[in-house]
């Protein structure tokens, strides 16, 4: 299984409908948390802080019953990345900022130094992405599409852009299913999958050409349908849900503000790497 397959299974999912505080939170608040958490882990350079953010986000995901796909995505994307990055960057393979030896490992009888700078880099960057992915998925998997439209509308996103975004989410599983049908049909009429690299590219064409033509044929039907629903009509659009901030939203926002103040104090008084005291190697 690869991360794109995980992607398909994720985007085939609609939001998990559960009656928890996370699901009831306004989409804008969850989106703000996603932006805020991502920005904070990029401002700091500390894997421990990243782990704290990751733990908090995963705890919310467990509570909202959306943790399984998030953890699976992290296992497939981030764990191999950390393994590969730390191996190449922490060992003496030329990472230019390596200075501080923190340990030695014995690799087939050869003693290799392990550098703090490369190790810190190889762990911190993937963990930053982990926080970004998990907070994004928390927002996506706990907000249903009708509420997502309301959220985007309230964020003053133009209506056409909202349509295009939501339509993409809807098209992906449809096209994925169609691609699967085309692939099965091609295999049944003799398409061989155990071929060399050039053959695989030809196979790719054999699936992608009918898929594209079929998708484009539906474009006009969709366009007519949209027009028949008055998509381009110069009138005020109405929404299925009305978004309004309630008490839990304000409490969540207050927590974000308090955390920001605390983190600002930490940044000014302790520094960008408060737990592990890593050197900012871009400097």
């Amino acid at each position: 299984m690869n991360f794109l397959s995980v992607g398909v299974s994720l985007l085939k999912r609609t939001a998990v409908e559960a009656d928890t505080i996370i699901q009831r939170l306004d989409g804008r608040v969850k989106f703000l948390y996603f932006l805020w958490a991502t920005i904070i882990v990029y401002i700091f350079y500390d894997p421990i802080l990243n782990l704290i953010f990751l733990a908090v986000t995963l705890a919310m995901a467990v509570y909202a019953r959306v943790s399984k796909p998030i953890i699976m995505t992290l296992l497939i994307i981030v764990v191999p990345w950390i393994a590969l990055a730390t191996l190449i960057l922490a060992l003496p393979f030329g990472f230019p900022w390596n200075e501080t030896v923190i340990a030695e490992i014995d690799l087939f009888g050869v003693k290799l130094p392990v550098y703090l700078e490369g190790l810190g880099w190889g762990i911190t960057w993937p963990l930053r992405i982990s926080v970004a992915i998990s907070s994004a998925l928390l927002f996506y998997l706990s907000t249903n599409q009708a509420k997502l439209v309301t959220t985007l509308f309230k964020m003053k996103v133009p209506f056409k852009v909202i349509y295009m975004t939501i339509a993409t989410f809807q098209f992906i599983p449809l096209l994925a299913d169609e691609a699967n049908t085309i692939m099965q049909a091609q295999i049944s009429r003799g398409l061989r999958t155990d071929v060399n690299i050039v053959g695989r590219i030809k196979n790719y064409l054999a699936v992608v050409i009918p898929l594209t033509l079929s998708a484009l044929n539906k474009v006009q039907t969709r366009a007519i349908t949209l027009e028949s629903r008055g998509f381009s009509a110069p009138v005020k659009k109405t929404l299925l849900y009305e978004a309004e901030l309630k008490a839990p939203d304000w409490i969540f926002l207050a927590l974000i503000i308090v955390s920001t103040i605390v983190l600002a104090w930490v940044y000014v008084n302790i520094g960008y790497s408060p737990f592990t005291h890593l050197r900012w190697i871009w400097a």
Partner: protein, 202 residues
């Protein structure tokens, strides 16, 4: 009196405006990029395969349709599977659309012409990786890719030269020089088979 032969002109009628077709075409391109990447994984083809629809969108709908479709794909991925910082890859898709548009305007879409192949390899294989290298270092720290061949190139260049930036650039070249020209060829082949009513670009 001999009956005059009337020439019948077949005119394809488009029932809806180009603007609304473009609005529907853009999410289709974004979804095709996504599903293209999934098919690559299923067939184990040696490319990324998630940008060809951006090129196709440019060839049939013009620069803005291709760029918007590609950008939207990256936004969707950034909001779900890849994490927020990945939205900047949207600019890579804009660059891909720009190159495709430039090649289309220069007439370098005829696969029988050697110039098409030369410019395709130079622009997509060597120039475009400069852009992706800048993004991968600036936003993602510039580590090795999670694919065996590029990671091996990265480790080898870093070990032999100690040049972090060169290692990142050559790692990107090793993937893009195969992926983007193949994506361009696929898009050109598909664009030639598309009914004219979908061609919005003049």
């Amino acid at each position: 009196m001999a009956e005059e032969k009337k020439e019948v002109e077949v005119v394809e009628i488009s029932p809806t405006g180009k603007a609304i077709i473009a609005v529907v075409l853009i999410p289709t391109i974004a979804a095709l990029n996504y599903v293209g990447g999934v098919i690559v994984e299923a067939l184990k083809a040696p490319i990324w395969g998630d940008t060809w629809a951006t090129i196709l969108g440019t060839l049939i709908g013009g620069f803005w349709v291709g760029a918007a479709g590609g950008f939207l794909y990256n936004i969707i991925m950034a909001l779900t599977v890849w994490g927020l910082p990945a939205w900047v890859w949207g600019f890579a898709n804009v660059a891909i659309a720009l190159i495709a548009y430039f090649m289309m305007k220069m007439g370098w879409t005829d696969l029988k012409k050697p110039m098409t192949w030369i410019m395709m390899i130079i622009l997509y294989g060597l120039v475009y990786p400069i852009f992706t290298t800048a993004i991968s270092i600036g936003i993602f720290g510039g580590g090795p890719l999670v694919k065996p061949l590029p990671a091996a190139v990265y480790a080898w260049v870093l070990k032999s030269t100690g040049n972090f930036y060169l290692a990142n650039y050559l790692q990107n070249v090793s993937t893009e020089i195969i992926d983007k020209p193949i994506s361009f060829i696929i898009s050109v082949i598909i664009a030639q088979r598309i009914p004219k009513r979908f061609i919005l670009v003049k």
